[in-house]
């Protein structure tokens, strides 16, 4: 197979995977409206190219630390959509047994060491996981994804400095969706932004169009090789745009409708589809990706809806080995 065909096939596969993320989140938002998703969810609609491009270019053995907006990252690392939907519904068989929810989802079996409910908290954890990788002499990298809001938290400085000082095998990906919760990050950030801050700490910084899934994949793969080759920590600044609100219930009225409509024209899924069309991929294939994804996530929804609540014993499980967390322990 020649290279253009191979590239096209890859792009088609990434287009399919972006649709899986989109369909998962649309299904989750619908389920939230139905009362099935219990807590807040933070959709990454419009940011799917970052998940598929960056996380999709990691190896199975690589480790991943994600954020509260991490459904796409988690799916791309290889977590089961059904287990994730169960987790969002707080049901048995969720990735975390229904005890974590969307913001605290993890799947250690695929190297996904956790989303995080605290902005920027995953940066130091990722640096530490990379420290362990080096101490154990393993050949893998740690990928840490955070948003543009995280660069204004202390752990950004401490964690990046740490990774540089100890020359750790970690790839920092700043998935810059332009908003820190409901505030424009630009209005709250001094200086020229994420890449300059990373450079100031001696970490090579690379910018990529975060809505170009092929480019994101290329850059990530290259940086991964560089890290494995002993190049030390690397920083990838991926510029994208959050097409929906901070949470699923945030109507994002702080943005002009015209601006949002303009941004939808740069939807990464539509962009990939356009490129595929230009290279002769048929509508049937493109819509097939969408339909298959919707069907898969609908099935995940149905299964999660039918899943039982966790056993009550789960309440007391996995707190810690010593001590008895039950109030019954105090009956005398």
């Amino acid at each position: 197979m020649n290279r253009p065909n191979l590239d096209l096939e890859r792009l088609a596969d990434r287009h399919r995977r972006m649709h899986r993320i989109r369909a998962f989140e649309e299904q989750a938002v619908a389920a939230l409206e139905e009362g099935l998703v219990l807590g807040a969810i933070h959709p990454s609609i419009g940011q799917e190219a970052c998940a598929v491009g960056a996380v999709g270019s990691l190896a199975r053995e690589d480790l991943l630390l994600s954020t509260h907006r991490g459904h796409g990252h988690t799916l791309e690392k290889g977590a089961s959509a059904t287990a994730m939907m169960r987790e969002l519904f707080g049901r048995e068989g969720g990735n975390c047994g229904g005890k974590g929810g969307s913001m605290h989802i993890a799947d250690f079996s695929v190297g996904m060491l956790g989303a995080n409910g605290v902005v920027g908290a995953n940066i130091n954890i990722a640096a530490g996981a990379a420290h362990a990788v080096r101490l154990r002499g393993e050949r893998r990298i740690v990928c840490c994804i955070f948003g543009d809001g995280a660069i204004n938290r202390g752990p950004f400085l401490e964690g990046l400095n740490w990774a540089r000082v100890f020359d750790l095998p970690v790839l920092f990906v700043c998935e810059d969706n332009a908003f820190a919760a409901t505030t424009r990050t630009e209005a709250m950030t001094g200086g020229p932004g994420p890449a300059a801050r990373a450079e100031a700490l001696g970490i090579p910084s690379h910018a990529a169009d975060g809505n170009d899934v092929g480019r994101m994949a290329e850059v990530t793969a290259e940086l991964r090789e560089r890290i494995l080759g002993g190049g030390g920590p690397q920083f990838l600044w991926a510029k994208t745009w959050r097409l929906t609100g901070h949470t699923a219930v945030d109507k994002a009225a702080y943005r002009d409708a015209g601006e949002v409509a303009e941004r939808w024209k740069d939807d990464p899924i539509a962009r990939a589809a356009e490129t595929l069309r230009m290279h002769g991929v048929g509508e049937e294939t493109l819509s097939g990706h969408r339909e298959a994804a919707v069907e898969e996530m609908r099935a995940a929804y149905e299964e999660a809806k039918a899943a039982p609540w966790p056993e009550t014993a789960a309440l007391y499980a996995d707190v810690q080995d010593v001590g008895d967390p039950r109030e019954a322990a105090f009956r005398w």
């Binding site: 974590g100 605290h104 908290a121 530490g128 420290h131 154990r136 400095n161």
Partner: protein
């Protein structure tokens, strides 16, 4: 048997665990030069800079990276220098380390030890003297240890390192030079069992960390007056040895809880409450708590001394119960 200080006991525990288990390592500021008090003296020479790792003054990164390193298969021992500085890493300890095992449904654990030198020592004043054990006991997921003797520092630090969960390990700075004869082979201690410092039948004093010395001194004073006092050193505050305390108070009918920390909301309140709930009918006197008044720790020695719960205060509290 070898004469060992409280500080040397901690060093020996870490060194023995590092020789036994290659995944154990330590990180913190100035460790390469032995640590701020000398607790790590000579260790970088034996274990190298990767396993006795210097760190920038980045408490959040020290503790946060320890969480990541623990999740990824190692057993980090974190040095926080002063318990007070650990407050720069509260998110990493409370929101991350303590919760990861539970909120991820048991997929992974966080086997780390946070060593936090605590307590009043050499007029260190408000930001270098605090006893914050009660904060940590309040957090599900954390084990809390506060050894009072060299032997317990040796055995309990080993147990803490072998624990699969995060342990807040509070060494009292005023005990660094305390000596004890220790054997060549000291196995890990039991997290959650108290030590009966001296037996007695008229009253029970529950204490931990450096305050155990004062409780013991009070018991010796009262023994001369014909009052028999049982002193219990809790050693670990979560889990804590309720059975030992309740069994003792059931016999004596009187309880004084003494600690260095601020009395309001202190762990003494928890002990007092549990004993009152369980043994109300058999108490011969109201339970008494002794702790510091609710003020920041002052620098001037006469003022600092006013915060200290001394042997006299403990003895007086017991006399008042008789």
């Amino acid at each position: 048997m070898v004469t060992t200080t409280y500080m040397e006991a901690g060093r020996r525990a870490l060194a023995e665990e590092m020789r036994r288990d290659p995944t154990v390592w330590a990180l913190g500021e100035d460790l390469g030069r032995g640590g701020v008090f000398g607790q790590y003296a000579g260790m970088a020479e034996e274990f190298g800079p990767l396993r006795i790792s210097d760190a920038p003054i980045s408490e959040a990164a020290i503790l946060g990276s320890a969480v990541g390193a623990a999740l990824a298969g190692t057993r980090p021992v974190v040095e926080m220098r002063f318990a007070d500085f650990a407050l720069c890493a509260v998110d990493e300890l409370v929101n991350q380390a303590a919760k990861a095992r539970y909120m991820f449904g048991g997929q992974g654990g966080v086997p780390l030890v946070v060593r936090e030198p605590m307590g009043m020592w050499r007029s260190s004043a408000a930001q270098h003297s605090q006893s914050l054990e009660a904060w940590y006991v309040h957090i599900p997921g954390l084990t809390v240890v506060a050894p009072a003797t060299p032997g317990d520092n040796l055995r309990l630090l080993k147990a803490a390192i072998r624990s699969d969960d995060p342990v807040v390990y509070l060494e009292h700075k005023d005990l660094w030079g305390l000596e004890e004869e220790l054997g060549d082979d000291e196995p890990p201690g039991d997290l959650g069992s108290a030590r009966i410092v001296c037996e007695g039948s008229d009253a029970t004093v529950v204490s931990w960390s450096a305050m155990v010395r004062n409780a013991h001194a009070a018991a010796e004073t009262l023994a001369e007056e014909g009052v028999s006092v049982e002193v219990i050193d809790l050693r670990t505050l979560w889990p804590w040895d309720r059975e030992a305390v309740l069994a003792s108070v059931r016999r004596t009918g009187r309880l004084v809880v003494a600690h260095e920390a601020v009395s309001v909301g202190g762990f003494g309140a928890e002990v007092a409450a549990v004993v009152s709930e369980a043994l109300f009918g058999s108490l011969k006197a109201p339970v008494k708590r002794l702790g510091a008044p609710r003020v920041p720790i002052p620098y001037a020695k006469p003022l600092e001394d006013m915060l200290r719960v001394g042997p006299d205060a403990i003895a007086a509290a017991i006399r008042a119960q008789l």
